[in-house]
Each structure stands twice: as C-alpha cells, then as structure tokens.
C-alpha cells in the first residue's frame, strides 16, 4: 500500500507491555497503521485503552516491547540513543495538561528556547538569535509578545496550551503526537486551539497523531480514525466513513453514547453493560466480547480476524457491520 510514497509514519505490530505485580499489562497490543505526510490520524478510545501509551511508545518515551516504528522509512526502534535524540527534533509531542506539563520555574521564552539549546540549533550564548526565534514561534501560535517573560502560573489554560504548542513547534518538527491537547480547556478556548492547530498543519505541512476521547473533535480534525479498545485496534478507516458506517459493535456503542447538542436528535442508543475489563493477562479472543451484544462462542477464543469491509475500512470483528 505504500508503493507510491513512503508514509511519514508507519507502525508495524507495535506492542508495549508493562510488568505489574499481577502479571503483564498489555497496554498496546499488536497495533499497525500508517500516516501519510500532512495528514492527521485520530486515535480514539476510553481511558485505559492504551492510546496515550501508543503515542509515547512511537516517540520511544516508552521503549516498545516489540514491533517496528518507521519514520520517513527509517526504523526508529533501531536508532541509537544519539540518533534518537537527533530524530526527536522531527518528532514532537504536545501534552494533555497545560497545567502540569510546563516547568513552573521557567518563563515563556525559556520554555520555548530550551529545546533549541538542547538540540544544539542555537548556542546558549546567542541571546539575540534565540530571542528572534522565540518571537517568531510566539507569533505563530498567537501568543502576545508582552508575555515573553511571564511564568505559566500567570497565564490561563488556553495560553498555557499555546506555550506547549510553541515548545513543540520551535524545532520545526514534521510529526507531532498531540495527546489530548484540548481536553483540559473550555469549549470556546478549545475551538481557538483547534483552529490554530489546523492552520499550523496547513502552513507547515505537519503530520499529526491526534489522541482524544472527544468524538466530535476527532471527526473535525482527522483524515483517518483509529478506534482502540483495551490496547488493540478495533476499527480503522476514513473519518467520515467511520461516522457514516461504524462496523465494530464497540464503535457503534461509542458513537451512539455521545450526547448530541440537538434536542430533536433521536437515534437508537446502545447501552453498554459493565466497564472496561483489565488489560492484565487478557483472555484470548476478542477483548470486547464480554460486553458485546452480538458475541457468540467463537468470539471468546482464538484470533479475531481483521476484515476489510470496504476499501480502506478495517474492522477487527467476526461479525463486522452487524446491526
């Protein structure tokens, strides 16, 4: 499928297990996908489904248990420490919580300049060059110049998240993992940040892996969407397709549970019983089977097949599209 051009990011059979007292926690379990240059892949799922671990494992903030991550055709998992540091200027991350992810003792300009010095793009003594670059990046993300010497605690959530974005952008990366960048923000501020991220993507040709639990945000931003459940991919397809024709029973339940801001909107809503089971030493078979209304005996054992139900639309289910 990647004959015509090398995708910016290609992930093959990526696994990340954590050792716990009770056994192995399968946080990311055999996930494969690719993102073309300049596109956005939305990753959705509920808390504990492994979506943040996936983002971090791709950047090797967690070492993968097995599997490969190719960035512009190069195998990131085989990089040496030094080569990885170098690669990080092309692969950045924006964190979820703008209150916890900024160093409270660094000013806005120090925070933005830090990666530039670490990566050796600027000499720490080149005050003027750094200041110029910081001003440029602040303009890009819509931070007023008068804030250059303020500390994070003086700023509201929206401005703090702009600092987080500016810090990621200062190295001029090609690929950014966005880990719930707007979920801590109020809706009106959230909309400002989403517009900003869209503009930056177009201007700079960025590729995003956008992790969120907010379905309307993911639909708005993504080209493709991957739905995760307990560490595994359950459905992958083009964004509009997912909302038009959700084929995995979990996706169907997830979409139907979203409260729609229209009093006249009526649809069949699927009430899922129970909650996420533990990803520690999971039983074989489909991990959703216990809560699935269509589950039969074969769902509780063996491999769950990944079927292509329409071109580019993959579903990990024995009965995709059943309604």
């Amino acid at each position: 499928m990647a004959e015509k051009s090398v995708p910016t990011l290609q992930v093959e059979h990526l696994k990340k297990y954590f050792k716990t007292k009770k056994g192995w926690l399968h946080a990311v379990d055999d996930v494969s996908f690719s993102i073309e240059s300049g596109q956005t892949l939305g990753v959705v799922g509920e808390s504990g489904c492994g979506k943040s671990t996936l983002g971090r494992t791709i950047l090797r903030l967690h070492e993968p248990t097995s599997g490969k991550v190719y960035f512009n055709g190069e195998d990131v998992t085989a990089f040496s420490k030094a080569r990885m540091k170098q690669a990080r200027s092309d692969m950045q991350i924006i964190f979820q919580d703008p209150y916890a992810s900024l160093n409270p003792r660094m000013t806005v300009s120090q925070t933005i300049a830090y990666p530039l010095i670490i990566q050796g793009k600027y000499d720490a003594r080149d005050k003027e060059g750094i200041a110029k670059k910081v001003r440029e990046v602040m303009d890009m993300v819509g931070l007023a110049q008068r804030l250059v010497n303020t500390y994070p605690h003086e700023l509201d959530g929206g401005r703090r998240q702009r600092i987080g974005i500016a810090r990621a952008l200062s190295l001029e990366p090609k690929f950014i993992v966005c880990d719930e960048p707007v979920s801590a923000l109020d809706v009106s501020i959230q909309a400002q940040i989403l517009n900003l991220m869209q503009d930056l993507q177009q201007q700079l040709g960025l590729t995003y892996l956008f992790i969120t639990h907010n379905m309307s945000v993911v639909k708005h931003l993504s080209d493709n969407i991957m739905v995760m459940y307990l560490g595994q991919m359950v459905e992958f397809c083009e964004a509009k397709q997912l909302f038009r024709n959700p084929c995995h029973p979990y996706t169907q339940a997830l979409l139907s549970a979203i409260p729609v801001p229209d009093p006249d909107y009526k649809t069949e809503r699927i009430l899922l019983e129970g909650e996420l089971t533990s990803p520690i030493n999971p039983a074989p078979g489909c991990r959703f089977a216990k809560r699935c209304r269509y589950a039969t005996e074969q769902c509780f054992g063996g491999e769950t097949p990944v079927k292509e139900v329409e071109p580019g639309h993959f579903v990990a289910c024995h009965f995709p599209g059943k309604r």
């Binding site: 009106s188 909309a191 639990h213 801001p261 229209d262």
Partner: protein, 329 residues
C-alpha cells in the same frame, strides 16, 4: 411570595470572595427558577459561577473568604438565605442534595461505601438498622450488589464510584438534587450509563434537578430548561427548545459555534474571540461586551438586566431591550 409551581427561585444573587488580589465577583446578580419535577441545565465555562451558585443554594459558601452580599434563594417558598444554620442542616441531604463533580475525591477512602450511605441516613434520624437496610436498598437501586457495601472506594471503578455518590445523594429521597458536573470525569459510554440511571431515578422519585455542566450535548438530551451563565450572571434562560432552536445572546451563539458538529462537516470553527474576564476586574456594563461582535458604546454603560423575548425565554443583552424602555433612556 414566590411562584408555587417553582421549587426553586433565585433572585439577583450576589456572592463575592474577598481575596488578597481583590474582590472576586463570583455571582453578579444571578436569577433563575426551576419548576417542580423538571431538570434545569446550568451551562457555562470555568469561572462563570456555576459551582458558586450551587454552593450558595446549599449554604456551603466558605466564609471567609466568601460572602453573600445580596439576593434571595426561595426553596419551596422560604428564603434559604434567612434560614439558621440549624435549619439548613435539616434541609441539606434530606430536602436538597448534591452530587459532586469528582467521584475520585469526594468519597472518604477509609470508610466502607455502605457506611458512607448509612451516615446520611443516621444524620437524618434513622435507626442503625434502618440505615443499614436503607444503604443496601440504595446500592441495589444504583446497580451495585448489596454484598459490596463492605468494600472501600478504591475497590470500585470510576463509574461505580459515581453511582455510590448518587446513592448517597438520593438516600433521604430529596425533593431537589444538584448535580455538579456529575459525569465530567467519566468516559462517554459510562457517562451514558450514569445519565440513563439518573433519569430513571429522577422519574421514579419525581425529583427536581439542577444539572451543572459545560456539555451542551448532555443538556440537550437530559434537561427541560436551560440557563446559560457568563461572568456570574445568567445571560440567557428558557425552555430547552427556546435555547437550542432560537439562541439569542451573542455568548450563547458563540458557544454553539465552538463545538464541532457530528452531523455536518465544517472546515473551521467559529470560536469566541478573547478570554473570559478577570472576575476581580469585570468590565463595566455588559460583562461580555469586550468579546462581543455586536457591542456598541452603549453596552459599556448599560445597567445589565434580562429582557423577555417571548415564551419563557429571557435574554440579558441590550440588543433585546424593548422599544419603550429605549425611549425612556
């Protein structure tokens, strides 16, 4: 005095917090009413005063720094602001109950969940035996087997903890329930489970409810009336359809423009420009005017008040001032 159909009527409530940085005007003349058996959705962003309003009704404003400086809160026709602390203790939990936002921190970690439900019942005069039976009954009602009454909060998942908090709030069968962002900390499928359960219990007991949320989707699917708050005021109030089908206040319009739609494809969102005001230094006149695209010079001078625009719908915006009032001025 107050309308008999209304279980709750708040008039011109003003609450301030006196801090080192200055006086925070958390509520700035908020008014609203709630009919018996109905659910009112209270919508607004961080700092709009939603939680202060809820705490004001419960008489739980921390003093100092908080202070109620004006207004009336009628509950079943009596002004709660004039009630003694002794009387308020009888009201709280028995007649008015509150579900707090964060299920992870609002349960006592060193008490079994059964004991935490029993505590409410005991405080309102039930015997030990009645309280234990009542706690078991409540657990079953929110879908938790009564055998688990002996367990501690950490043994439950987030959705289950929120069910326990709901059980505590409903234990004395209150007439009026305040739910402060009851599902914000939960995942969407669990949120749906909890909302369905709350709706069922509400119908079963004919409870009136004030649902505080920032999610317009939850309001559309669960409420009968809506109050939109901004900078300590209710800027728009009306029946569900009046607000969702015919929003008038520029702030309400801005909120609707900020949410990405699931049914339509939009390329760009139309957010509200700027930031919410600093509550220690509110703008003069209409607090929204510095961010409002329709603002005129008159907005900064205007003595903010709500105007009826048909039905039960009221809007706190100068653009909807009736013509006769305009001539007076």
């Amino acid at each position: 005095m107050a309308d008999n159909d209304n279980i709750l009527e708040i008039r011109d409530l003003k609450i301030v917090y006196k801090t080192q940085e200055g006086v925070v005007e958390a509520l700035n003349g908020a008014s609203l009413s709630l009919k018996r058996g109905q659910t009112l959705g209270l919508v607004g962003e961080t700092g709009a005063g939603k939680t202060t309003l809820a705490r004001g009704i419960m008489g739980l404003i921390p003093k100092p720094p908080g202070q109620v400086v004006g207004g009336e809160i009628f509950f079943n026709g009596t002004d709660l602001l004039k009630a003694s602390e002794h009387d308020m203790r009888k009201v709280r939990g028995a007649q008015i109950s509150m579900i707090f936002q964060d299920p992870m921190t609002s349960l006592n970690p060193v008490m079994t969940v059964g004991e935490q439900i029993e505590e409410v019942l005991r405080a309102h005069g039930r015997s030990v035996k009645e309280a234990v039976e009542g706690a078991h009954e409540m657990l079953e009602m929110v879908g938790i087997p009564k055998e688990r009454a002996e367990e501690y909060p950490h043994q439950f998942s987030g959705g289950m903890k929120q069910r326990i908090i709901i059980a505590i709030a409903l234990a004395c069968n209150p007439e009026f329930l305040i739910a402060d962002e009851p599902t914000t900390a939960l995942d969407v499928t669990i949120q749906y489970q909890v909302l369905v359960m709350m709706q069922k219990l509400k119908e079963q007991f004919n409870t009136s409810m004030l649902m505080i949320t920032h999610d317009l989707g939850i309001v559309a699917q669960n409420c009968d009336y809506v109050a939109i708050m901004y900078a300590g005021q209710v800027v728009e109030y009306g029946a569900l359809r009046e607000i969702f089908k015919d929003p008038r206040h520029p702030y309400t319009l801005g909120l609707f423009g900020s949410i990405p739609s699931l049914s339509e494809d939009t390329d760009r969102l139309t957010p509200i420009e700027g930031m919410p005001p600093d509550p220690t230094r509110l703008p003069t006149g209409c607090p929204f005017h510095p961010r409002c695209q329709y603002a005129t010079e008159a907005c900064a001078q205007w003595k903010s008040e709500a105007y009826p625009v048909g039905g039960e719908h009221t809007v706190r915006c100068l653009r909807f001032q009736p013509a006769e009032k305009r001539e007076e001025a």
